[in-house]
């Protein structure tokens, strides 16, 4: 189980690093918002894999709450892009 979880975490860490490089090289703000959303979901997946690795009993709760409040970050970034207008 540990090996499988480590492989998943390495793949997700690679996704986060690639996303950060994309944020650095992006020229428009919309791309940065989208890639930061991708980094958010990748980090949630890493936290889930960490919970599996330490045999935590709240793995489902973590991913449930994170998927429910994940919309807030995206909506906030959308409002920032339009300077507060709807």
């Amino acid at each position: 189980m540990t090996i499988v979880v480590s492989i998943c975490a390495i793949i997700l860490a690679a996704a986060i690093v690639i996303g950060l490089i994309r944020v650095l090289t992006a020229r428009d703000q919309g791309s940065r918002a989208v890639v930061s959303d991708l980094i958010y979901f990748s980090s949630i997946a890493i936290v889930t894999m960490l919970g599996i690795a330490v045999s935590s009993s709240i793995v489902i709760d973590v991913v449930f709450l994170a998927s429910m409040v994940g919309i807030l970050a995206t909506i906030a970034l959308a409002r920032i892009l339009t300077r507060g207008h709807r």
Binding site: M1, I18, G30, S31, A33, M68, G70, T74
Partner: protein
């Protein structure tokens, strides 16, 4: 559920979901504008994260046994990821267009570049002749 089956299922679901997230991150380099990036982001939230949730549920089933509350939380998490993320992506795409982010110039067909048929698009920067009724 024995140890081997749980490990294999967690591996299949987890590695497939992680690879989908990685593929989505790589696709951010292949496309050229923010709207296309929102488009290629949807495999990560629509299929990758539900597979991660499936891996977490299989692990929970293996470690703590079956319970209706975990099944309900897993199902609601998958539904939230599919529905709520679609709404969030729609909102982000709308604000991207409204804030005037550039669209890749070779996009074809690009219906955002021209007004729809039947719409009179008056350019406010052009001085109109005051004698002519604009209608």
């Amino acid at each position: 559920m024995n140890e081997t089956l749980a490990t294999v299922l967690v591996g299949i679901f987890g590695i497939t979901g992680s690879l989908l997230l990685l593929a989505s991150a790589l696709a951010m380099f292949r496309v050229r504008d923010a709207l296309s990036r929102i488009n290629v982001f949807s495999p990560a939230t629509g299929l990758g994260m539900p597979l991660i949730v499936a891996a977490a549920y299989v692990f929970d089933l293996h470690s703590a046994g079956f319970s209706w509350s975990s099944l309900l939380m897993a199902v609601v998490a998958v539904l939230c990821l599919i529905i709520v993320s679609s709404v969030a992506s729609n909102t982000l795409a709308r604000s991207t267009v409204l804030s005037g982010q550039p669209v890749y110039r070779k996009t074809n067909p690009n219906r955002l570049a021209h007004p729809p048929a039947g719409v009179v698009d008056v350019d406010p920067d052009v001085d109109v002749d005051p004698d002519v009724d604009e209608g």
